[in-house]
Symmetry: C2
Subunit: 263 residues, 2 copies
């Protein structure tokens, strides 16, 4: 049996709420064993773009990353947010190390090619440097990944943090028993998107098909769940979705939604 | 005999000049063996502060770091500059990893205490995590250090890049034969500050005293040289001062000023 590794993704809503972030970081620091934290962006990048008068173009909820926007997200994600999270984890006794995908060639990507839309400097992941990440984890470092990758040709690329978490989890599944935790503002996958008490405790592939057929899954949750099952099919042991402030309960299975393949 | 380690510091003038930076990064990437690059700031932080309307207060050429300025230098130094340097080194085939002092507790500092002046969030270095840096170097990673440290209480601190270079060189001098290279826009230590052809090839402590007594050292160079001798007295083998674009020649001893203890 392999050693356990937790890959925990926190969303922008948590980063924007200092009380929630503080509570999360204390529980993440207290988490025993190997661990990776993947953080998204939050509103700071948008605010900075306003101050710098860089117009932001959103298409289907995705930020088009022009050269100036790439500069902003590199500064905010890989600089401000990443280093502040690392410093705060250090204060809580967790020896954290923050990386972008360029660092140690941790995550290599290519600029997205799309038939009709130019996303700009957005990267789709090609590979995760599992030996590097493993060597850091084996030194008992907690890795904090910013959602910035590179193409190994000198270009930094803006990459979706959910994808970073999923790829890191998959890439390390040969070395560890990986549990991938998507933590956000909701309590888990809900039967009623407006009612936090309708959390589904556990979803298997068969149950997922059934829920989808009955249109009981909120549309916004479907890509997350599709990704969760893709991760399971690539060797990840378990995917958990739930509230960032309940990290311990999520891991214990007493909160959130656990997504597993039947066995 | 220990393995050689190069600790190379590049100044803000090089970072601001893309042609010089590009040439430097190619020669740094080509440098064989263990290596650390320490970068300063450059004008981008000042420009960003203007755009964000954060007034900058300079006292004796030093930036007073208030909370908003700390945010800016964290974004620019540890984010934009650090990650772009790393990505470009990766493109040149050098497996670089960028760190702030918070990452892996690489460089711990404390907020500067000064009897009359509040420097704000400026850090004076307490310790360098030599085992961490050594473990990364031993994986053939080139380390790129941003001039941001932390106090292990959750606070990031703005720290002079010359000091970072010196402390890293000293901290690793028990593990490697360290050569510390301060590269900047001038050809070395000059007898005539306005004439690049008056480079002093080599300075020993006795010669330094002689030059100082004769007032032949440009005032701005004295702290650099004092630091250089302090580094030599703390185990660093050699300090070299010269042009960033001549990195290979500096190391070969055919350019710049070499500072050594008599032996």
């Amino acid at each position: 049996m392999l050693e356990k590794l937790f890959v925990v993704k926190i969303g922008g809503n948590i980063i924007d709420d200092d009380a929630k972030l503080a509570a999360f970081l204390i529980s993440f620091a207290a988490l025993k064993g190997k661990k990776i934290l993947v953080h998204g962006g939050g509103k700071l990048a948008t605010r900075l773009a306003e101050e710098m008068k860089v117009p932001q173009q959103m298409v289907d909820g995705r930020r088009i990353t022009d050269a100036e926007t790439l500069k902003i997200v590199t500064m905010v994600y890989a600089g401000y947010i990443n280093k502040n999270i690392v410093a705060r984890l250090q204060a809580h006794g967790s020896n954290a190390i923050g990386l972008s995908g360029a660092d140690g060639n941790a995550i290599q990507a290519h600029k997205r090619v799309h038939p009709t839309l130019d996303y700009g400097f957005v990267g789709d992941v090609d590979s995760v440097n599992a030996p590097l990440l493993k060597s850091l984890l084996d030194q008992d470092l907690a890795i904090v990944l910013a959602p910035i990758t590179h193409d190994k040709q000198g270009l930094l690329l803006n990459t979706n943090a959910d994808t970073i978490a999923q790829e890191a989890a998959k890439g390390l599944s040969g070395h560890y028993d990986v549990e991938l935790i998507y933590s956000f503002e909701k309590s888990g996958v809900l039967l009623d998107a407006n009612d936090d008490s309708t959390v589904i405790a556990s979803i298997t592939p068969a149950y997922y098909q059934q829920l989808k057929a009955a249109q009981k899954i909120f549309a916004g949750m479907i890509p997350k769940l599709d990704n969760a099952f893709a991760a399971l099919n690539s060797g990840v042991k378990k995917v958990i979705i739930g509230k960032a402030e309940q990290l311990q309960q999520l891991i214990a299975g007493s909160s959130g939604t656990t997504i597993i393949n039947e066995q």
